[in-house]
């Protein structure tokens, strides 16, 4: 095992330890310390309004492949879907979910049926509310449009892996006059969402969805652990800059380069 592999393993072990520690000791204590993200405040209001008006929420969890790192943000989308079903369970129209990946579509239907079963409302589960919209990026975007343009739908939440095709979905959402909240892991798509979505989630904000939608104390604990590691990375970057300014960067590379 190389030194860089060892550092990677240590990184994951410490990260896991911190999440477990904060979950065991925190129990939602940190919820009050969450930074205010206007997008989630608007989303909670939209969920409340949808329940009151008997309208529908639409969530799209992108087209991230389950066997690739893109699946992580799709799992965040699934957590958000679960949170929204729980919040909107008393409404007349159940939330509708779309995806652009076949294996994710199975997970979506599983999440829908499982959540309705958990809340004792399985009769409200409609298998057609979990839809595979298309297999290619653009067919997925176009296949999602009927759900976006549906008159019964009042909010669109896009959390998952998207490419530039997401602009077609957010543009349709904007035209329908409904709330469009969107976040992704893809950098070009984030730039597009900044311009096209009413409430864009930039950077790691999308990974905080579970914590803000009260998906469980582990989501809040993982935010706390991420903050600690973020500060650690900032310190390492500043140290790197100072070493570069002092002209010691090459000496450090020579010293440790062979180990990595």
């Amino acid at each position: 095992m190389t030194i860089s592999g060892l550092i990677g393993l240590a990184f994951i072990l410490v990260f896991s330890g911190l999440i477990i520690l904060f979950t065991a000791t925190g129990r939602g204590r940190f919820e009050a310390n969450l930074r205010r993200i206007p997008a989630f405040a608007r989303l909670r209001r939209a969920i409340g309004l949808a329940v009151e008006a008997g309208s529908r929420l639409h969530i799209s969890i992108g087209r991230g492949n389950l066997t690739s790192p893109e699946s992580a943000v799709a799992f965040v989308g699934l957590s958000a879907l679960e949170g929204m079903i729980r919040s909107a369970s008393t409404g007349d129209n159940p939330p509708i979910a779309t995806t652009g990946d076949a294996s994710l579509a199975i997970l979506v239907r599983d999440a829908l049926s499982g959540t309705y079963r958990d809340i004792g409302n399985i009769e409200q589960y409609d298998p057609t509310t979990g839809q595979l919209a298309g297999f290619t990026p653009f067919s997925y975007a176009v296949g999602t449009l009927p759900a976006v343009q549906d008159e019964k739908t009042t909010a669109h939440i896009l959390i998952g892996h998207f490419g530039s095709e997401v602009a077609l979905i957010t543009d349709a959402g904007e035209r329908s006059g409904n709330l469009t909240l969107a976040g992704t892991d893809n950098l070009p798509a984030q730039a597009i969402l900044y311009a096209t979505a009413q409430e864009p989630l930039i950077g790691e904000e999308v990974y905080a969805s579970g914590a803000y939608l009260r998906a469980g104390p582990m989501h809040i604990a993982s935010l706390k652990a991420q903050d600690i590691f973020r500060w650690g990375l900032i310190l390492v970057i500043i140290a790197g800059v100072l070493l570069k300014i002092a002209g010691l960067d090459q000496a450090i590379v020579d010293m440790f380069g062979g180990l990595l």
Partner: protein, 221 residues
Amino acid sequence: MNLKLKSPISTAIAIGVGVVVLLGYFFGGDPAGELTTLGLLRDFLLQGAIVWAAVAMLVGIANLASVHLGKVRADEEGSFSFILLLSLIITLGVGLYDIIKTHTDQQLNFQRTSWIFNYIQLPIETSLMAVLAVSLTYAAVRLLTRRLNLLSAVFIGVVLMLLIGAVPQVAALAPLFAEIRNWILQIPTMAGARGILLGVALGTIATGIRILTGGDRPYRG
């Protein structure tokens, strides 16, 4: 801790497989570069996942067909759904014919499937790409009316600068403009992108750990 162990067997399998694959990345090879038992197990599990993802595609097609069949029956946007189902059946038939032809002729023969892809699928997707360009231009203008603040103004300003600077004649006429454009691309853009990617990486690791520890379960079992 809020471990949702409602289906302990599926949870145990998922966590076990996840841990083996993760450890396989760190202990999967020996110093000579040969795969260890853990490495072989990791590859076997990952190959299995790829096969299952392919099987899921069949389930996905069935899901797509059932949703649109329901729409045709309910006469809800029925015409579009009918076209989709008809296209699905025709493409499936052509694909099967090409597969049979390949086996009977003992040589690759996917001309008909390629024709569908090259002359129907590709032009449609290219047209959508063109629509996207118009949508994005419109969205950029709308951004100024909807969210007029310093960040939006900087966003639009930089986009315009980069687009104008990409024109070769502009670079030839105004070299300083081209230099500023390159500096924007290489320094602030790269720094911002790396910052965002670090945040995304931390979020990805946190999500993975939540799933590995059973704190987050995207599956039910």
